[in-house]
Amino acid sequence: MADVKLELYDPTGAEEVTQSFAPRLADLNGKTIGLLSDGLFQAHRTFPLIQGLLQKRFPKARIIPFNEFGVGRAEMENEQTMARVVEKGCDAVITGNAA
C-alpha cells in the first residue's frame, strides 16, 4: 500500500487551436498551385519535377514555379511572399524541402 501520493502538474502547458486547415480542393484542374522553396535539400530539383508531374496529370492547372516567390528559409514565409501568394491567386501551395 502506497503511503505517499504526489499530485503533479503536467509540464507541457496549455495548447490553443486558433486556425483551421483550408478545405481541400475537389480537383486540381483549373486551380492555381504555388511552389514555395526554402532553397534547401535539393528543392531546386524536386520542385521542377513535381511541377512537371502535376502539370501532366492536371493539364488545366496553373502551377507557379518556386523562383517566382521569395526563396530561402526566411524569405519563403515573409509577408511579401504571402502577399505574392494572394496576388497570384493561389488556391494551394506546396512547401519544402525537409523541415
Binding site: 501520493k5 504526489l6 503533479l8 502538474y9 502547458g13
Partner: protein, 459 residues
C-alpha cells in the same frame, strides 16, 4: 501540402501546431534522406505523386474545433517519499517531460512557492514556445523552474529570458528544431545578478555551488524548450549531436570588475540605463576556449586579439554572416585582468570590438576560395559598401556584431568565445527584468540567505 524527409514528421506537425493549427499536418509519407542529397535519385517523388495529390485534394484534419486545452494533473505514489520521487522521475521520462537528470516534483505547493517570485498573475501568457506551440504562461514557467530545482527569486529572470528569445526576430523556432546544436546563452546585467547569485566570476559557465542560480534558470529554459516547445531530440528537434547544454548558459557580467571607463554591457552595447536589470539572450552554437597571455603590452594584446580571431574566423562563419548587417557573429568573454589590460592600453569596449573586427578582415583570395559565387553575390547585395568584389572582407558588416562581455574572475591566461548559432538571420534580444515589489523581493532574498548562507564576495 509539405514535402519532408524521414524522421522530420514530428518537426512538421509541431510547426503546424505552433502556428495555431491542430497537432497534425497534410504531409506526404516521409521521403528517404538520400533523396535530399546532391545527384540523388528522385524517383520516390514520382512513385508518391498520388500521395501529394491526396494531400491537396482529399486529406481531412482530425481536429475540427478551435479552443484552448489545459492538461490534467498526474498522480504518482510510493511507499515513501524517495520511492514516490523515483516513480515520478520514471513517469516523466516515459512521457518525454524530462531532460534525463533527476527532477524536483512540480506539486501545487512547490509551484505556488516559486510563483511568489513575481507580481504577475500565474495566468499571464508570456509566449508560445515553438515549434509545438505550448503556451508559456507564468505558471507553466514556474512549473519548469520548480522541476529544475529553482527558487522564487529566479522567476523574474526566467520570464525575461523567455520574453527575449520568443521575440520573432530571435528565431527560437530555428534554434529549437535545427540539425545544428544551438542553445540560448543569457547574459544578466544589473544588481539582480548578484542578489540572486548568478555567477560572473570564476567558473561562470558552471558549475559553482556558491552561485546555483544560472544553472537552474538555464535548466528551466531547457525544460521550457522541451516540454512546452516540443524540442525533443530525434523527434521534434533534429540536432545531430546536441551540445551537452542541459543548463544552457546563464551568466552575469562582472560589473564590479569592469575597467574604470567601461560601462556595463547592457548600457554600452544594448542601450539601457546603468543599474537596470537586463537579460540579453543570444543563440550560441559553440563555446571556444581562448588562451592568451596577460594583456600587458601591445605585442601581448595583438596575440590576444589573434587568439580570439582564430575562433571567430572559420569557413562556416565566413559563408554565413557577412551580408547580414544586423546579425551578430559571437561574443568574446574576457576576465577582469584581460579587459583591464586593453583599457590600460587605451581601448574602450568599442575599441576592442573594432580591433577584433579589423583583424577578421580576410584576403580576397581566401574569400574567393571558400565562398561560392552565388553566396558572394548575396553578401555583396546585402551590404555593397563593405563587401566589394576583389577587396578583402571582414567577418561581419559592423564591429558591433562582435560583442564583448567581462566575466570569469580576476586572472588572465584563459578567456572564452561564444560562437553564433550557425545561420544568418538570428538576432540578439535584450529585455528588462520585471521584479516583484521591493518588500517581497527583500523577503525572498532573506529566505535565500537563510537557506544558502551569505552570498560569496569572491570574484
Amino acid at each position: 501540402m509539405v514535402i519532408t524527409r524521414e524522421d522530420f514528421s514530428g518537426v512538421v506537425i509541431n510547426a503546424f501546431a505552433g502556428l495555431g493549427f491542430g497537432k497534425e499536418a497534410p504531409f506526404v509519407e516521409e521521403f528517404p534522406d538520400e533523396m535530399f542529397r546532391d545527384g540523388s535519385d528522385l524517383t520516390p517523388i514520382e512513385r508518391n505523386l498520388d500521395k501529394i495529390i491526396y494531400g491537396l485534394t482529399k486529406w481531412e484534419p482530425r481536429v475540427k474545433t478551435k479552443g484552448k486545452t489545459t492538461p490534467q494533473k498526474v498522480t504518482v505514489t510510493g511507499k515513501d517519499y524517495v520511492e514516490a520521487i523515483d516513480n515520478m522521475n520514471n513517469l516523466f521520462l516515459r512521457n518525454l517531460w524530462s531532460d534525463g537528470l533527476p527532477l524536483i516534483p512540480p506539486t501545487e505547493e512547490r509551484v505556488n512557492w516559486i510563483l511568489r517570485g513575481t507580481d504577475l498573475s500565474p495566468d499571464t501568457d508570456i509566449a508560445k514556445i515553438l515549434p509545438r506551440g505550448g503556451i508559456a504562461s507564468v505558471k507553466a514557467l514556474a512549473i519548469c523552474l520548480a522541476m529544475a530545482g529553482g527558487r522564487p527569486e529566479y522567476l523574474p529572470v526566467l520570464i525575461a529570458a523567455v520574453e527575449a528569445f520568443t521575440v520573432p526576430e530571435f528565431r527560437h523556432d530555428w534554434m529549437n528544431t535545427t540539425t545544428g546544436a544551438v542553445f540560448p546563452a543569457v547574459i544578466v546585467n544589473g544588481p539582480i545578478a548578484k542578489q540572486i547569485r548568478i555567477n560572473a566570476g570564476y567558473g561562470c559557465l558552471g558549475p559553482r555551488p556558491a552561485y546555483p542560480a544560472g544553472g537552474r534558470i538555464g535548466r528551466a529554459i531547457r525544460l521550457v524548450l522541451m516540454c512546452l516547445g516540443g524540442g525533443i531530440a530525434g523527434i521534434n528537434t533534429m540536432s545531430i549531436h546536441g551540445n551537452n547544454r542541459y543548463t544552457n548558459a546563464v551568466i552575469a557580467e562582472d560589473e564590479a570588475g569592469l575597467p574604470p571607463d567601461w560601462k556595463p554591457f547592457s548600457a554600452e552595447s544594448r542601450g539601457y540605463a546603468e543599474g537596470t536589470n537586463v537579460v540579453t539572450v543570444l543563440p550560441v552554437n559553440d563555446i571556444d576556449r581562448v588562451m592568451s597571455p596577460a594583456v600587458t603590452t601591445k605585442e601581448n594584446m595583438q596575440r590576444c586579439v589573434n587568439e580570439y580571431v582564430q575562433k571567430i574566423l572559420c569557413v562556416s562563419q565566413l559563408t554565413r554572416y557577412m551580408g547580414d548587417e544586423g546579425g551578430f557573429v559571437g561574443m568574446a568573454l574576457m576576465p577582469r585582468d584581460m579587459a583591464g589590460g586593453f583599457a590600460r592600453l587605451g581601448f574602450s569596449r568599442a575599441g576592442v570590438q573594432k580591433l577584433l573586427w579589423e583583424k577578421s578582415i580576410t584576403p580576397w583570395a581566401t574569400i574567393e576560395s571558400v565562398i561560392n559565387p552565388t553566396q558572394r553575390q548575396m553578401i555583396m547585395k546585402g551590404n555593397p559598401s563593405v563587401f566589394v568584389e576583389g577587396k578583402p572582407w571582414p567577418i561581419t558588416a559592423r564591429p558591433e556584431n562582435i560583442m564583448v562581455v567581462v566575466n570569469g574572475g580576476a586572472q588572465s591566461d584563459h578567456a572564452a568565445y561564444l560562437r553564433q548559432g550557425g545561420a544568418s538571420g538570428y538576432r540578439v534580444i535584450s529585455k528588462e527584468v520585471k521584479l516583484p515589489a521591493k518588500v517581497k523581493l527583500d523577503k525572498l532574498l532573506k529566505e535565500a540567505e537563510l537557506a544558502l548562507g551569505p552570498p560569496s564576495e569572491d570574484p
